[in-house]
């Protein structure tokens, strides 16, 4: 079983639309994992129906038992995150500021502080409209996206793929270069970089590729809206050549992407545009690279 991860550095390049298209094309051979847990959108195109769901706890949160607190304020002093303000005559923890380090609970002289498990989100195993299984999640507002929920989603998807004897896990990766994307990338067999020929697109591509390189994962690139800016597109082509990244496809600027989205479809399902064919070809290339 091979794991394909689609990332783009930053959103807005069409990453999710392209991932959903690949998911549609390879529906019979894969399990989908939406690891963009912070702002998951894939479900809007794949319309998964949950088969099972489970809460996800990660880390702990300080809670002060006011009936035992003697108001000494040592917890507030020790807390480096200013998470224990003195308000209305008592010390209380601001959950959004608490990092869960537990220092306060260790030094409270009367043991008034306990650390409780924090529910940070929920994950689902679902069946999509194409029949393929999909694992996705929702992170609670303001929760820490430490990468643990991302790792959970990926592991559940891998397990499902193994159980169902599927060839691929297709991962819609997280944005940025921090913990979530590191979790998305770990263990990947192939990375698809989605970019666009804009100065910021090129910049993000170079930055996120530094990470991919560190993990030594083979990579290919799909350039969306490739005809928008010939000059920057040429710079991207050079970058790909220098880094020996497979240049999978150039997709033209086409508002058909948005039209398909409005119908809740992937672009490969709507006719009269050149993108569908390019993406079918891309999917074949990826399969060939992975040696199936």
């Amino acid at each position: 079983m091979k794991e394909i991860v689609v990332i783009s550095g930053k959103g807005g390049t069409g990453k999710t639309s392209i991932t959903a298209s690949l998911a549609y094309l390879g529906a019979d051979s894969m399990v989908i994992a939406d690891c963009d847990v912070d702002a998951a959108d894939m479900h809007l195109l794949m319309r998964p129906e949950a088969v099972s769901s489970e809460g996800f706890t990660s880390g702990v949160l300080a809670v002060i038992d006011q009936s035992r607190c003697i108001g000494c304020g040592r917890c507030a002093q020790a807390c480096r995150y200013d998470a224990i303000p003195y308000r209305d005559g008592q010390y209380t923890v601001t959950p959004l500021d608490c990092e869960g380090c537990g220092y306060c609970a260790r030094i409270c002289p009367v043991g008034a502080i306990s650390m409780v498990d924090q529910l940070v989100g929920e994950w689902y195993l679902s069946t999509t409209r194409t029949g393929a299984s999909m694992v996705h999640a929702r992170l609670g507002i303001g929760a820490e996206n430490s990468g643990k929920l991302v790792a959970k989603v990926k592991n559940e998807a891998k397990q499902a793929a193994q159980e169902q004897g599927k060839q691929y896990v297709l991962v819609d990766g997280s944005p940025g270069i921090g913990c979530p994307v590191v979790s998305s990338l770990s263990g990947a067999d192939f990375v698809v970089l989605v970019t666009e020929p804009t100065v910021s697109g090129l910049h993000d591509l170079q930055r996120v590729y530094q990470l991919v390189k560190r993990f030594q994962i083979p990579a290919g690139c799909i350039i969306n809206k490739a005809d928008l800016n010939g000059e920057v597109a040429a710079q991207i082509h050079d970058f790909l050549k220098n880094e020996q990244i497979v240049h999978i496809a150039d997709l033209p600027y086409d508002e058909a992407f948005t039209r398909a989205m409005l119908e809740g479809k992937t672009i490969v399902e709507v006719s009269d545009n050149p993108i569908g064919e390019a993406l079918s070809d891309s999917w074949l290339q990826i399969q060939t690279i992975l040696g199936e």
Binding site: Y81, Y103, R106, V199, N229
Partner: protein
């Protein structure tokens, strides 16, 4: 006045709005624009600027002093993040896992884990056309954005008084880095696209702003490309739509070259004027 520009997801036009608005407002006001998207700072690409200064930024992590350590193992017990581990006759510190809580350092009975700075990123300040621009950039390989965001916010507060309008280009999403970026803002401007993705991301961003009890309003980017879902949602929820930035290939091309849009597209200047009026109204005490 602190104005946070945010969205549920990246790529909806946060940077476009931040840079164009900063330049537009700078015609009449003192402005500082800060890029808080420390993982992928992009605003700087759209601004012509000259560097004023650059500062390396660091955070505090413990460093093991073998000479005073008795290998009691207290540090390992108190670290909730498994960042200090006793291995044989050695204490190992994993700075990537450390949240800088000081517990191991201050609870070590033998002062064997003093806290010392470790580099995490770079803050740069520049003079742009008519306004100041601050950017912080996380080093690749650093995984925690929040400490750098917090330091950047403190830096801006220190260097710019209340008379300066502070615009913040926030990181995408709804998790910790965004909360850190908008929790001190006076108003939050949420930018989205009129598509099903845009609507879904907007609803998450609205939930975040409401949870923090923030005054907020919406700007629709690439107006005309999609459907009425976002506009209908806003009117149903009683959310003010400040402006609609029209979609065009020309706008996309200007963006692709890293150019500001409003000097070339008069309709965009008009829309920015509406955002400006909203901010001025809020500065003069609420309801505009």
């Amino acid at each position: 006045m602190k104005v946070a520009i945010a969205s549920g997801k990246g790529g909806t036009g946060k940077t476009t709005l931040s840079t164009n608005l900063a330049s537009y407002l700078a015609q009449d006001h003192a402005i500082v624009l800060t890029d808080l998207d420390v993982e992928e700072p992009n605003s700087g690409l759209f601004i012509e600027k000259t560097l004023k200064y650059e500062q390396k930024r660091s955070r505090m992590v413990p460093v093991w002093e073998s000479s005073t350590c008795t290998l009691c193992g207290r540090c390992q017990q108190v670290c909730n993040f498994h960042a200090v581990i006793k291995l044989g006759r050695e204490i190992m510190v994993f700075p990537e896992l450390c949240h800088g809580c000081y517990a191991c350092s201050e609870l070590c009975p033998h002062n064997a884990l003093p806290m010392q700075p470790t580099p995490m990123g770079t803050l740069t300040a520049s003079a742009a056309g008519g306004f100041d621009f601050i950017e912080s950039r996380l080093d690749v390989g650093q995984e925690q954005a929040v400490p750098l965001i917090a330091q950047t916010l403190a830096h801006v507060d220190e260097h710019y008084g209340d008379e300066v309008i502070k615009l913040y280009d926030c990181p995408p999403g709804t998790s910790c880095p965004v909360i850190e970026s908008i929790k001190d803002a006076d108003i939050v401007i949420l930018i989205t696209e009129p598509t099903p993705f845009g609507l879904h991301d907007l609803s998450l961003a609205v939930e975040t702003a409401r949870k923090l009890g923030k005054e907020f309003a919406v700007v629709i980017n690439r107006h005309g490309i999609g459907d009425d879902g976002v506009a209908e949602y806003c009117s149903r929820e009683g959310i003010k739509v400040l402006a609609k930035i029209p979609n065009s290939r020309k706008a996309a091309e200007l963006y692709s070259n890293g150019e500001l849009m409003y000097p070339h597209i008069p309709e965009i200047a008009q829309q920015l004027e509406q955002v400006s009026q909203y901010i001025m109204g809020q500065m003069n005490g609420g309801e505009a």
